[in-house]
Amino acid sequence: MYSVRLWSVRHSRRMEWLYNTFNPLVVKLLRGVVKVFGRRLDKPITKAEALAKGFFFDCKMCGDCALSRTGMSCPMNCPKTLRNGPCGGVRENGHCEVKPEMRCVWVAAWDGASRMKNGDVIRETNFALDHRLKGQSSWLKMARDD
C-alpha cells in the first residue's frame, strides 16, 4: 500500500534496525529449514516474504532485494525499474514523471537513506537485475548463497 510504503521510508532508521537484528536470525533459521526440508517449503516461505514485504514496501519480489541499500524504498516501484538512482525526469514537487500522483521512489530512497545508520551504501552502484530471480524469495537466496 502506497501510504504504508511512505511510512516505511519515514521510519527507515527503525526498519534498518529491524533488518539488522532479525535478518541474520531469519537467514539462520531458513538455513536449517532448507537443510531439513530441501525445497519443499519454498512456496510458503516465498509467499510469507511476499506478504510481509508487500505490505510494508509494495515489494515486487524481484528476487534480489535492495531495500537496505535504497533507504527502504523499493526501486522496483519505479516505472522504469531503475536500480541506480532517479532518472532526469523527476517533477519539481519530487514526484514521478510517469505517475504524477506517486512520489519518486528515488527521492524517497535518498530521504530514507539520510536517516539510516548505514545509509551511505546508496552511493554504491548495482548491476542490472538477473531476471531469472523474479518471483523468488530473497530470504531463501541468502540462506542458500553461503
Binding site: 522504469k80 538512482g85 532517479p86 523527476v90 517533477r91 548495482n126
Partner: protein, 343 residues
Amino acid sequence: MTDRAQIDAEGLNPGDPLPMLPGHVSHGRFERVLRAGHFAVSTEIAPPDSADPDEVLRRAALFDGHVDAINATDGSGANCHMSSLAVCALLTREGYSPIIQISCRDRNRIAIQGDLLGASALGVCSVLCLSGDDVSVGDHPEAKPVFDFDSVSLLQTVRTLRDESRFLSGRQLDLPPRLFLGASINPFAPPHTARVDQFAKKVAAGAQFVQSQYCFDVDMAREFMARSRDLGLTERCFVLMGVGVLASAKTARWLRSAIPGVHIPDAVIRRLEQTEKPKAEGRRIAIELMQQLAEIDGISGVHLMAFKQEEWVGEIVTQSGVLQGRKPWAPAHLAHLKQPASA
C-alpha cells in the same frame, strides 16, 4: 583543419578512423578535442521520420564547422524516428563524429551489446548511455517498456566490452569496441542534493563525459559544479552543460510543465514575454548562457539543443565566441547539401 590535413596526408577516406592517440580510448575527434583542452560544442540531430539518407546529411550539414560532435537521439520522448545507429552510420561514412545515444527503454542486454559492437564497427567513437523516457509519454504508449538495464548498468556494460574485451556472459571478443563513454546528468531536478552523488555514481560506472539536461539557471549550475569539483569529478570526467534555444514564452512554459525535469526560472520567461522578438531573444539567452557557463571552472563544453531551430546553431555558436576562433572539422565534400532542396 589539422584533422583534415592529417586525413589527406595519410590517404584516409573521411569515414576511416583516425589514429588513436596515447591515453585515448577511442579513435574519435570528440575525445581528441576534449582531451586537448579545447572548449567543445556538441549538438543534437533530430533523426528524420523518413528512410531518406540525404535527409540525415542535410540536417547534419546545418552544423558544419560549428560543432565537435552530433548526438543522434534514440527515440527521444519515446517517439518513433530513424534509429540512432543508422543515423550514426550515415554520419560516420562522411567523416562526422556522431555520439550514439542508447536508451534502455527499447532493447535488452543482448540487443544493446550487439549494437555497441556494430556501432564501433561502423566508425562510431562516442556513446551516450541513457535510461530513456518512458513509453507512456511517447507516440506508442501501448509498447512494452524493456528497461533490462538502467543507465549505470549500461555504462558498466560498455566498459566491460571495451576494457575487458568480453560480453557480460564472459565470452571473449576478438576486437573490443573503442568507445568514449558518456552519460547524462540533470543538476536541475529533485532530489537536488543527491544529483552530485548521482553524477559520481555514473563516473564510478565509467562515464568519461556527461551532457546535462537544459540549463537555464547558471547559479544552480555553478553550485553543482562547485560540489562536483569538491568530489574530484571534473578531473575524471568532462562536463558539457545543456543549453536550449527557446522560441517564445509559450514554448518555455510548455517545456517547463510538460517535460518533467526541465527547470526554467521565471526571469527567463519574463525576458521572452517583454520582448517584441521572442525568437531572437531566445537565441540571445542561449548565447549568454553559453558565455556564462564557459566561465565556470570544470565545464568543458556545451551541448546545444536547438530543436526545430537547428538552422541557428551556427550563428549562436559564432556569436557566443566559446570556440575562441577554433573551427571544428566538417566534411568539405558535402558542400552541395548545404542548401536544402526546398529552399
